[in-house]
Amino acid sequence: MSEAVQNGGTSNGAHSSGEIKPRKKSKLGKALSSKTFWRGVIALVGFVVFWELCSRTYGWTGIQIPWIGKVPPPTEVIYAWSYVIWLPGYWESWYLSSARVFAGFIVAMVLGIPFGLCLAVNKYFYDIFFPPFEVLRPIPPLAWVPASIVFWPTTEMSITFVTFLGAFYTIVINVLGGARSIDIRYLRAAQSMGATQWDLFSKIILPGTLPSIFTGAAVGMGITWEVVLAGEMISGGGQQGGGGLGFFIWSSYMGGTVAQVIVGMISIGIAGYLSSSLIRYIGSISMPWRRLF
């Protein structure tokens, strides 16, 4: 164990210092010279220093700062992390959680976008499907956990289903709202120019709804991460010791290593940030006219 820790510490340090040097691109230079960037850095560093000091006061003075004093300091968390990154279970947890998030999210997009558009453009469809949708919507995805364990043959499927629910409602509501708020003059102008119903749908309603689709996707992605974690905690671990990041946190808690719990929490933060960055990136590529705002 201690071997692994030392190994992790040294190679990690060497790796990061080697990585920083070659980056001298203009984009990075721009970011480094911007005030916004430095404000962000100072805020983060300040936060970490504050946390470290508050956690350490008990050891130094015997006075415990009420809430934050019980939390292990960042140095301990980093130390725990340097141990954890050598465990295959940790990375497997990353993989499992991400796979569940993306599976649920993609299914939610594939079903939610057409469903929302149908609600928006067809009155009969709306009259029939909106009331049950509105009844199901307030049920928190987590309330579905027991039921979905009964419904679905495997734990994996029930977690993915709950994840799907987390994103589905948000996506549908955003698509519906977006499609309905399209300026009627666009539709009228197109009609005057001889647009068919299909033209109106594919050339006006669909691109006009795109910004709302991405808003829904970004919000939905956030909810998906929230839900998958809770789902994993409740449903228990996987088979090979990697039950997802939710299970990782839960088992760390059971094992009594609070530092490792925080490692899990920060990992989720990073995972969530990476996923929403990905959505923003795809969004800006598919909507060039929105990049100009």
Binding site: R188, A190, M193, I204, L210
Partner: protein
């Protein structure tokens, strides 16, 4: 090229016969347009001017076919209007360019949709029109990157490429600053004088109306009908100096008086008190 030749022969007479339209149900019905009759003459610029809040936009929607009248008929060259069509292009208030399309994509939208001509033909005409409205350099920009005036010119090009029999302009220069507005009026009047297409221009600005119009139609207040038609005989090509001539002043005074009466009528009705009658009587001075 072809388009220019064709537009010279474009005869388009729009007739509105006793058109009425009201909204709401039996209990709270609001008559927006009542017994509206007007003939928009071919190859003339007819300007409708009316107090704000009268049914100008409703009228535009009826003519464009976005809405149907409760009674009466709308005929274009003797053929009844039943729905939207490329023979009547509307240039909307503010801008209605699709934000997700570049200027050029917006302009070619209609012809490409219908696929009645080859792409090369459409692109050639689009380039010619964009050049004409002074947007050749901006054809790959998105509408949000254009100024208000540029957006209106792009919209003019988008309408013209469809070769409508009649252009319907629904307060097209509203929302522009005074300077751009003046420039757009001048630009539009040149465009019209070049090949006199049939135009129906709706506005609430009297000076704009007189500057542009061959025929000025003063509308009554709600329910909207024709109050008076004034033929504007200012010479063409028009320029802004003509607005300070005695002739223009006379038109303006006459239109102002009519509009003032109409505005006062609705003001009194809205307030429903004798006090307002007294103020109106004192202020009007007649």
């Amino acid at each position: 090229m072809n388009a220019e030749v064709k537009s010279g022969q474009n005869q388009a007479t729009l007739e509105l016969q006793n058109v009425s339209r009201s909204y709401g149900d039996e209990w709270s019905q609001e008559h927006i347009i009542a017994d509206f009759s007007l003939t928009v003459e071919s190859n003339k610029l007819t300007v409708l001017v009316g107090p704000s809040g009268c049914g100008k936009s409703t009228l535009v929607n009826l003519i464009a076919g976005f809405d149907k009248p409760d009674s009466g008929k709308i005929l274009l060259n003797g053929k009844q209007v039943t729905g939207p069509g490329q023979d009547r292009m509307v240039v909307f208030q503010e801008t209605a360019l699709m934000p997700w399309q570049t200027t050029r994509q917006n302009v070619v939208f209609g012809p490409k949709l219908r696929g009645e001509r080859s792409d090369a033909d459409i692109d050639a005409e689009a380039n010619r029109l964009l050049d004409k409205v002074g947007l050749a350099e901006f054809k790959d920009k998105y509408p949000i990157q254009l100024s208000g005036g540029m957006q209106r010119r792009a919209e003019l090009a988008r309408a013209m490429i469809n070769h409508p029999l009649i252009m319907i302009m629904d307060e097209p220069f509203r929302g522009l600053d005074a300077m751009s507005r003046e420039l757009m009026q001048e630009f539009f009047v040149r465009l019209y004088e070049e090949n006199r297409r049939t135009n129906l221009f709706v506005t609430s600005e009297i000076e704009e109306a007189i500057f542009l119009a061959d025929r000025l139609v003063v509308l009554s207040n709600r329910p909207t009908s024709v109050r008076k038609v004034i033929d504007i005989t200012l010479p063409r090509p028009r320029d802004f100096h003509m607005l300070s001539s005695t002739e223009a002043y006379e038109y303006k005074r006459e239109a102002m008086e009519l509009l003032h009466e109409e505005a006062m009528r609705s003001f009194n009705r809205a307030s429903g008190s004798g006090l307002m009658d007294a103020i109106a009587g004192g202020g009007g001075g007649d």
